[in-house]
Symmetry: C2
Subunit: 385 residues, 2 copies
Amino acid sequence: MPRHPQTSTSVREISGSVFTALAHKLATFEGEVFPLHVGDTWLEPPEGCRMEDFRVETHPGMHAYTQPHGHPDLLDALGDLTTRRTGVETDKNDILITTGATGGLGAIMGALLEPGDEVLLLAPYWPLIAGIVRSFHGCPVAVPFLDVVDSPETAVERVRRHLTAKTIAVYINTPNNPTGRVIPQEWIEAVVEWAASEGLWIVADEVYEELVYEGRHTYCRGLAPERTFSAHSFSKAYAMAGNRCGWVVGPRQSMIELQKVGTHSFYSTPTASQLAACRLLQDGYGEAWMAETRALYAQLGREAAESLGIDPPQGSTFLFFDAEPYLDDRGLEGFLNDCADRGVFLAPGASFGPYPTWVRVCFTAAPPEVTRRGVAVLTELMRRT
Amino acid sequence: MPRHPQTSTSVREISGSVFTALAHKLATFEGEVFPLHVGDTWLEPPEGCRMEDFRVETHPGMHAYTQPHGHPDLLDALGDLTTRRTGVETDKNDILITTGATGGLGAIMGALLEPGDEVLLLAPYWPLIAGIVRSFHGCPVAVPFLDVVDSPETAVERVRRHLTAKTIAVYINTPNNPTGRVIPQEWIEAVVEWAASEGLWIVADEVYEELVYEGRHTYCRGLAPERTFSAHSFSKAYAMAGNRCGWVVGPRQSMIELQKVGTHSFYSTPTASQLAACRLLQDGYGEAWMAETRALYAQLGREAAESLGIDPPQGSTFLFFDAEPYLDDRGLEGFLNDCADRGVFLAPGASFGPYPTWVRVCFTAAPPEVTRRGVAVLTELMRRT
């Protein structure tokens, strides 16, 4: 009973930013900063799809509410897109427009979780998912996966060992943040089949679906539409993270519950952001831009990986590697500090699951030349260790 | 344990829109529609503060993330504003920028509630607050207040009778949606003093602070800054509901917990919306517009009240009255249907607490001439009953 001055236990258990320790250094660093820890893009969105392109004169009411669950035109466009991509007939009643994928995953977890319920997170995982589960009084359970699984059988074996009577869902993020991996379709099929046999929900985080450089993205909705919620976003693909516009697709009969949580946590997604998303989809503004951007990101990812001596990314905008060989008795903190002393900021592995010696590098947060210089500084530091 | 296909009990208990029954009529009505049930404004935001006024050329990165807890300039501007208004020294560390007041109240409830905790809602209350409490596994407790309280003593007497061992907070909405009342300072002082004596938090919903036509708005933060979270918004005052930008002010040591819930439910507030809010505050774009708008809304509220034979609003954009004298054996539903048959849509009282025969009228959702015609149709219907 958190009366003043107490607050919710569950939220207190969410760790603040693991990055906090380095924030002061970042704020006060003199010299060129290489913000490789951020997950964002330096690009501006496609021309024609920027805020300046939407005028009151042609879009009267564009600063007022639209329907809480989404602008009708965007819902329709996403219904068509989802049908094409997943092979599952989808319309506006299967979709909720959300404040980015974060709002979408919040709506999913809010709609599913009872206090104490457990969600299996295939690790390494997107850092915020654990806090989202906790915000709604659930328990996140890290399942080491991408670093240890090598077949459909070991995939199932890994998730099964974390199943308890309280497990309600499996969270799968592909293309993966932080590893840059695209999870093979056979592994996903095996996990989904097992989840179905245990009566679990599937929560698929597919925000990097547009950013695949090698292999092929698997749409979980196509495998088990009756039990899958998939979260998507315009943020990552189209350089619109600040617009806060994403969407969730799921089983129709449950979407009303997601709508309720959405309405009660962010009410609606910004109207202008939805207009920008509509234009991307409807008028073909997005496609050519995306093809060009994808090629550029793939090139940047390959270059960074080559410099660091690791495998190139298959998708997403990240590389993830074990810095253990470069650590002294100060551990990862010392390594991150040494990097920071040279202007290079990295995201620590503990944010992504049980990976205390790993680091994540984003190769799209800063302009290419800045990223290249930052990666070179990092490579040089690692060579000297 | 809500395994597939079950979902969270707590969220299932949130009623869907009470308005759903009339939605079909609204969608198919032939003839002029008077949408007096909506809580929004027909106005466009002040010139200079619209999306079209923010260009990539002058605001590079305006579509990318800003700090999750808020744009630095907006945090600073709101710190100054809050200090001036409440008399309590306030800076960026006491503030969280949120996706409208809804995001803010979600962050507050998320940060405070343990499962089963109770929040006393002074009624009539803003409809979404009950669902927000439920979304985070709390129990909303309606406290009939504005219709029965007539002194500081009866104010305390009313809230005290709903206190249990599980009560953690009191929610106060002034200027009030739906009643259009500005709660007298002495009543608020009495309730806050009682809440302090019981160790409760205060959650003050002050989104209509700019829209006061009679009396004076009381800033709860000024009375008990150590236990008060106040939610504010640019939506209602500045015709920016679709921008989804609001803010919460609260005790510094607890803001980190609110930040966590915000980060995990909407991540950040749209960057362009924060730039628009900055311009309102920093460059004086908002003040003259607000003075004019306030006078216009006051006039519209007085006209509507006079037509309906009720007291004029003291603040907000609503009127609330008991339609009991106009009901036949079909109850309120019949009355709402009769209104809808004439194109007039009203919000049913049950959304706002135990007010099954009351209705809410918004006098700013449609342009003045439309509202006037709608109110005239409603008045005529009531005369004939």
